[in-house]
Symmetry: C2
DNA sequence: CTCATCAAGTCATCAGATGATTTGATGCAT
DNA sequence: ATGCATCAAATCATCTGATGACTTGATGAG
């Protein structure tokens, strides 16, 4: 375990501990040295040790039990993956979400329940236009509609990631993009739902892909200009 | 800002602060009350406040600057998304990864570089069989091959998520699954690379889909029995 | 052998003090 | 008035010491 630089001691201590954990120095379920021992190993005060440990707990690597000790919960750290995804930029994120959207539509065509269909048709009908209640409200309705398609896939992992991308993309667009993205018309939206309802996976996937292509092209144009 | 229960004060304090941040009480870039003030607002000691703040920093919600203050970095929290994905279970994760794989192959067919092709062919040739160096080594080579396909998509967000799923799936399989998944033969592997090399996106996507279908079916069988 | 009791070990929290860094105010020289 | 060096206040970073709460294995009575 390495000593550390002066300021940012907590971060250095956390990184040092994290490295040891990922290296497999302690097995999952094993107890790591107590706070006093870590104080000596890392050459920092107990308060700093506690802050470092607390960070690793929040990352899911450690688990502290009062009166007993601090235990290794996992020796793999996936907490950085989403941060790296966020740093990949708007284009890759949009394309990745579109990929999930396409495959979700394919699955939805095969697995949708009657309730899924009902919800999709209802949200499709409720979309309306930008004129109804303003832009933000329309955006909300549009997002809800697309999400209902992904939900109909029945795959919770895809839904989670879809939500993540939607949130990340929205944040980026709000802060960086000037100029609007084209919004496909109602017919393109309806085509997706109809393909899903008819149970044709290829048609469903194709309709989403056709839906996304012009938007992605315009996004490319906006980002390169 | 709520008071708090007794043990687990740090977690409660962090949750309380997190809720306030997500509610938009402070705008992004705005400075939150200093540690002493938070001590009074949350009715906990400064050490506890610091641990709570440290957790929110590691989640990307806050940003502390010595001598200046602690500032809001983001008002949306995506740190829980991957944890929820992990809890969705092996089947959904496998299917989600397959979805990324299919769309990645499609993009790879359209965008691969000569270096991508070279790498894929090299890794395909190096795959060999389980007999060469044992099961773990073969698994490593197989993973490297599949990853090279996803890499050839040129989409870093998809690559990140693919890696995450691979790691999560591996962990789950190691700890829970008895019985092997079928491994498609070399011809199926080669078909994917050839489709990508020929620049045919539909064929590339279809070959990956055909590749994954029997594996997913067997996974279903193993999980339901 | 069973079970209640207890003491040691460990994390949780608090309190107070000092150091390091940032930042705006002050005042001087130009 | 302007530019600049200096300084003091504000703030986070770290350390030290002490007390409380909880867990766990040892102890000893029955």
């Amino acid at each position: 375990m390495q000593p550390i630089n002066r300021t940012n001691l907590t971060e250095s201590a956390a990184e040092s501990l994290r490295t040891e954990i990922l290296s497999g120095r302690w097995a999952v379920g094993e107890r790591i040295p107590n706070e006093t021992a870590l104080t000596e190993l890392l050459a920092v005060s107990r308060g700093t040790v506690r802050e470092a440990v607390r960070v690793l707990i929040s990352k899911g690597l450690l688990d502290a039990r009062q009166g007993s000790g601090t235990y290794v919960r996992s020796t793999v750290d996936t907490s950085g993956a989403l941060d790296r995804v966020k740093r990949t930029g708007l284009r890759d994120q949009w394309e990745a979400r579109a990929a999930l959207d396409v495959e979700a539509a394919r699955l939805a065509a095969l697995r949708h329940t009657p309730e899924d269909l009902e919800r999709m048709f209802k949200l499709l009908g409720a979309r309306g236009t930008v004129a109804d209640g303003g832009r933000d409200a329309f955006g909300q309705r549009d997002i809800a509609f697309h999400r209902s398609i992904v939900e109909a896939s029945g795959n919770k992992a895809i839904v989670e990631l879809y939500d993540f991308f939607t949130s990340a993309i929205l944040e980026t667009i709000h802060s960086t993009l000037r100029g609007d993205l084209p919004e496909p018309d109602d017919r393109a939206h309806a085509a997706i739902v109809e393909a899903i309802a008819s149970g044709d996976p290829d048609q469903a996937a194709a309709s989403v892909r056709a839906f996304m292509a012009p938007v992605l092209a315009e996004l490319d144009r906006l980002l390169t200009q």
